[in-house]
Subunit: 545 residues, 2 copies
């Protein structure tokens, strides 16, 4: 038996394009003699469809897509993820289902059992969990059909769940396992996933074909890396990350388990590739080709522009340099050098004349109050407005350049440097931005070394340094990591040896700046805990603040 | 037996203030001879605590608060909602619990059974549902303890749930029902709630004391309106809306059911009072007292300013008039009149000089492209920046003035008129804004009648009218209501008699403007389906767009 793993990039709600893409893959796999082709979770409608699932019309379009695939299931079986209606009134209206289509019929439907409802996941908002598990018989083989999280409760040891779907299915003696996933990227996920898939196979001693979604849907990036694992626990094949692939495997060969070929997973290579795909798909799926980046000469905008150039082509990334009277000469020189290294078009638009016109207008209203954050924010906001004006005039998208450390402590200006359509590095701590810059520079000095080596500064007042108002980034980032990723108690962070005053100040800053993050552009998620849909905090809360 | 209903305004995470407030209420109720005092759902930590629940330290503080109340439960029993740890590893880490504290002991703990996980609710993200239901015995009475949603599955007819907690408890012959709620306001909710409470009482023929939270937590407004219902189904008392109340009831008198006194519920009176509380608590809980509103002379900013004046006092609402060369004379006159009617301080800050300085700077970059949305947005953003600068200089909060119709179709400028700390009328359709304005004017012409009667215009280009680019608001709002509140299929909206082209254009605008709404300030929720946390949509989706 030959099984095709179809790791494809779907577009939420774009049924026409998703179906067409699947039909092409079916034809290709059939041409290569595949008996079965397997697509990823909710492939018809794209993952995550979120509240679109509450529209009957949307579900109807998904059903229509399944029906088109059913008609194409001729000489090949098609396994596809799609929402389906719960026929009984009791429970949620929908199931998250895997359809097994063969001989132009629906041979079987297996619903998802374990519904992640944490972090970025809201599946119990929409779906009823199933408690029924039946293997599918096709061409003399028995197949255990599972959907994503269904394989994440090995031997019922995951405290979140009470059912282990595979324990139930394996009692029916399946020959192999198919898993339809939409498992979002973070820099640890590929390792975790290989471990989970491996542990399942070790437990059940049958081959598994794990088919992941690839592509970005706004903040969530799906890295692919689909896995074919032999009964001996060896990775027969790990499909490429961040690429569409349709590949046919021979079940006998997989069962023999003579290959072991996992891919290397370098943290910053993975983050770079994820962010590049994140940018590319955000633009592609919205129908845009060109980006604008405000280049300051600092490392955040440099890394953002570098990633944008990789994603969209340097010629499609227009850089705007907006020096003020507080900008140092080296900032402009570094920014120009970066643009020239990549061949990105750039403009220099000094902001002083506009800044002066604001001050002239507002000074009489300011009642002789001293220079403060107001004037700093004015500069940042003028830059934001210039970028947005250029974006409006030329129909391109402004990329936000804030990093995760800034976003965490509110070291940024709403509607100023916090503007943009997409935050590229908003889930990358400042210390990680440095590491990423060095990774990008590994083969060539794309990013001027001076941009990397100089002390970080917002340059919004004379001789300003980030370290004037924030702890050193290596300390700050570690405290933030403990609080945000690990949710460590404040007293336990202090017990790790950090200064109590700095810890309390940092956590306070994180919590009082929820109002700013609420209005941040969507942030490409690359860590296990990103700001955005996976971290839901009250604004008027008064905890540690 | 005497039962005190404590309808109080808690602050998320502010354990000190919440506990102190409860201890005062306990003393007061004890002084009035109450045997039991009942607080609302999750009263210790405030509702909804959201992801704060994932911090052990936060749960520890809630436990500490329960412990303080336990020590005060001396001569009076205290019933209080608080999160509690799930002692077994299986399932979610927490329960949403009601503690029954008496004789300085924890007499009983009843966990919540039905966990809303839809719209603005994420309870299954955090809580394990219980399946155990035991009535509490105290002073010879048996009490059925329920938490909010637990009473919303009458006779198991709510398809979302499979257990009816009260059916199980009533089998144990309780004398009355206590319900601890945090049930957020929408303009229909008070009626729905009275109906649900009434239906429960009709089914079980015992009195119910329904204790609701009151107060606003950013976007969610809790209206109070706690209910005491007699076994004959009559509303013995409905506590005031939008006010803190601690009131003691005699169980015998309630059981007799001689009173029937529901309150009037006028849609626009309720919306007005909800929005006033929403503003008041947003400022109060964040520690601010003063607001800024950009007054255009139009109805949206007029209504926003009027509500702010009611909430904060007119002297605390500073109005900024920012005319451009496209502003009509009457706009300025109408805005001035409004400010004067209330006695709000105002400034006139014409934007032309700054606008010209932007054009001078950007014109060379614009490559002779014609006047378009860029220049319109520039004006809106200059106004946004002026407001933000004044906000930064004087430490007050900018109120956003966008209405729901604009937010729906993206008729607004990001970082311009879409800026602010809080959106006051972002859940009020334009036609409802008119109705609200008329309601505000019922006793006196607070809002100049010309502001209400003139055709809406953004005044961003000569002789512009909203109707140049949008359908008439009475048609637009009805289509939006069908799509947003009702989730009616496009073909069914058209079948209601709306023009197909207008329907398709409208729904497309709604869906392609998700990127703008993502960066909108939090919106005070007054309808059953508001933009924000209760409506979660993909940005890169391609559905109806």
């Amino acid at each position: 038996m030959k099984i095709a793993v179809a790791q494809l990039n779907f577009h939420i709600g774009n049924f026409e394009s998703n179906t067409e893409k699947m039909l092409k893959a079916v034809a290709k796999a059939k041409g290569q003699g595949a008996d079965i082709i397997c697509f990823s979770e909710l492939a018809t409608c794209g993952y995550p469809p979120r509240d679109f699932l509450e529209f009957d019309d949307f579900i109807g379009l998904a059903e229509n897509s399944v029906d088109q695939l059913r008609q194409a299931a001729d000489g090949i079986a098609i396994v596809v993820g799609s929402p389906s209606k719960n026929p009984v009134p009791e429970g949620k209206d929908l199931f998250n289902s895997a359809f097994f289509l063969a001989d132009k019929k629906i041979l079987a439907v297996q619903h998802k059992t374990l519904l992640p409802t944490y972090d970025v996941f809201d599946e119990y908002r929409y779906f009823e969990p199933t408690t029924t598990h039946e293997v599918v018989e096709f061409k003399g083989k028995k197949i255990a059909l599972t959907i994503c999280e269904d394989i994440w409760n090995i031997g019922n040891e995951n405290p979140l769940y009470k059912i282990c779907p595979l324990d139930e299915m394996v009692a029916q003696n399946p020959d192999f396992i198919l898993n339809l996933s939409a498992s979002p990227f973070n820099y640890k996920q590929a390792d975790t996933r290989a471990e989970i898939v491996g542990s399942n196979v070790s437990r059940y001693k049958i081959p598994m074909f794990y088919v992941n979604h690839v592509g970005a849907q706004t903040e969530l990036i799906f890295d692919g890396g689909s896995l074919v694992v032999s009964p001996n626990g060896k990775i027969y094949e790990e499909l490429p990350f961040f690429e569409e692939v349709v590949k046919v495997f021979d079940l006998n060969q997989v069962s023999e388990g003579t290959k072991n070929s996992p891919q290397p997973k370098h943290k910053y290579a993975m983050i770079q590739d994820a962010l590049v795909m994140g940018i590319k798909d955000y633009f592609g799926k919205l129908g845009f080709t060109k980006a604008l980046v405000g280049l300051s000469g600092g490392i955040d905008s440099a890394v953002t522009a570098a990633l944008a150039a990789q994603a969209l082509g340097a010629e499609n990334v227009r850089c705007i340099l907006m020096p003020s009277h507080f900008s140092s000469d080296h900032s402009i020189a570094d920014a120009v050098k970066l643009a020239e290294n990549y061949g990105m078009p750039y403009d220099i638009v000094p902001i002083k004349s506009v800044y002066d016109s604001y001050l002239e207008l507002l000074q009489p209203k300011f009642e002789d109050k001293p220079f403060n954050v107001t004037e700093e924010n004015l500069q940042a906001r003028i830059r934001g407005m210039i970028l947005m004006a250029m974006s409006n005039k030329f129909g391109n998208i402004v990329l936000n350049t804030s990093n995760k450390s800034e976003a965490a402590v509110g070291y940024g200006t709403l509607y100023g440097d916090m503007c943009g359509g997409l935050s590229v590095i908003g889930d990358v701590y400042k210390t990680e931005v440095f590491a990423l810059a060095k990774f990008i520079n590994e083969e060539k000095e794309w990013i001027p070394v001076n941009t990397i080596s100089k002390p970080p500064s917002a340059e919004l007042r004379p001789n300003q340094k980030d370290s004037d108002s924030l702890p050193d980034y290596d300390i700050l980032d570690e405290i933030l990591f403990q609080y945000i990723e690990k949710r460590t108690d404040p007293q336990d962070i202090i017990a790790q040896g950090f200064d109590e005053k700095i810890v309390k100040k940092t956590l306070r800053l994180v919590n009082i700046n929820e109002f700013k993050r609420y209005q941040t552009p969507p942030i490409l998620r690359v860590s296990p805990k990103a700001f955005g849909m996976g971290r839901r905090m009250p604004i008027v809360g008064k905890y540690l603040s």
